[in-house]
């Protein structure tokens, strides 16, 4: 199924969870925040939060800034 990750289309397997997606993408599970269709998914829910077709995901982390 197709979802959007940080504005780019990605093809993922049915039943993939947020945590599964992070692992697939090689993103560390700490120090990030995930927004699913505009709502934050708290890190404790990543292992259970299942994704569905056409979901829109934003994954952010800190970078240098003033």
């Amino acid at each position: 199924m197709k979802i959007s990750v940080n504005g780019r289309t990605a093809e993922i397997a049915e039943g993939t969870t947020v945590e599964g997606l992070l692992k697939t993408l090689g993103i560390p599970l700490q120090g990030i925040a995930v927004e699913l269709n505009g709502e934050i998914v708290p890190s404790g829910e990543h292992p259970r939060a299942a994704l569905k077709e056409a979901d829109s995901i934003e994954i952010v982390r800190m970078v240098g800034g003033g």
Binding site: N6, G7, R8, L25, G26, I27, P28, Q30, G31, I32, A33, V34, E35, I40, P42, S43, E58, I59, V60, R61, M62, V63, G64, G65, G66
Partner: protein, 257 residues
């Protein structure tokens, strides 16, 4: 007694807060942070870069040593700023936020109306809000009234290095609010930081002034010393300015009197 100040529930000794952007390298940044003596460092929140998903940045900053202050830089609406603050809280497990709502691309001056709106929402949600604001005493008081933990008036436009353009407004802000006043943005060199502190500000926040210097590590030390010197001078109480001389040496007892 140690000269500390409080933001919300946190107590700090260093009155210099520094940004982590625009350094020539991560190594220089880490060294400059150390030389600055800062306890609070600002960071931005951005999308994960899939080309470098692991990202080295978080690992570079010793979070046991520094308090992270995420910003909402480059947000032009209250909605975007609130969204970024919530993401920062989730990513960094902190209630602190340096709230920026920008109103103009060229000057990066704040949008007062949107800033107040975003600050109200975030205060209600339990954030410790440090708003980047104009050097406007009325705005500073409004921000205090709605529950901001500090106010951070700009000295001059972000990254301009123009120094304290309106020291009189900063003084009025200091008289207008009880929360800490931290000069944010526009500091170009050590004397600018010292002036902010001599005025009685509780702290100074800067990024480009250090990161953009030819030698950021050396400038970080200069800024630390300037903030300390300015603070000491403020506490010591400067002499009044006079138009004419007052002799430093005794007038009596001159030879040939």
């Amino acid at each position: 007694m140690e000269d500390t100040f409080k933001i919300g529930t946190r107590t700090f000794t260093s009155r210099l807060m520094v940004g982590t952007g625009k350094y020539p390298s991560d190594e220089v940044m880490v060294e400059a942070l150390r030389e600055s003596g800062a306890e609070v460092v600002t960071v931005a929140i951005r999308r994960v870069d899939f080309k470098k998903p692991a990202g080295s940045f978080l690992g570079r900053i010793d979070t046991s040593r520094y308090t992270l202050l995420p910003n909402t830089a480059a947000c032009y609406t209250a909605d975007d700023a609130v969204r970024t603050a919530r993401l920062a809280r989730e990513a960094l497990s902190t209630d602190l936020v340096k709230l920026e709502v920008i109103g103009d691309e060229r000057t990066l001056f704040p949008d007062n109306e949107a800033l107040l709106e975003a600050a109200k929402i975030l205060v209600r949600e339990g954030f410790t809000v440090l708003p980047y604001t104009n050097d406007d005493p009325v705005m500073a008081r409004k921000l205090e009234d709605i529950g901001c933990a500090a106010v951070m008036p700009l000295a001059a436009p972000i990254g301009s290095g123009l120094g304290i353009r309106n020291p009189y407004n900063i003084r009025i802000i200091l008289e207008s609010v009880k929360v800490p006043v931290i000069v944010d943005a526009g500091v170009g060199t050590a004397s600018d930081a010292a002036i902010a502190m001599e005025l009685g500000c509780d702290g100074v926040l800067m990024n480009t002034g250090i990161a953009g210097a030819k030698e950021p590590v050396r400038m970080a030390r200069a800024m630390r010393l300037a903030v300390e010197a300015g603070r000491l001078a403020y506490r010591a109480g400067r002499i009044p300015k006079r138009l004419y001389a007052t002799a430093s040496s005794p007038v009596a007892g001159m030879v040939g009197e």
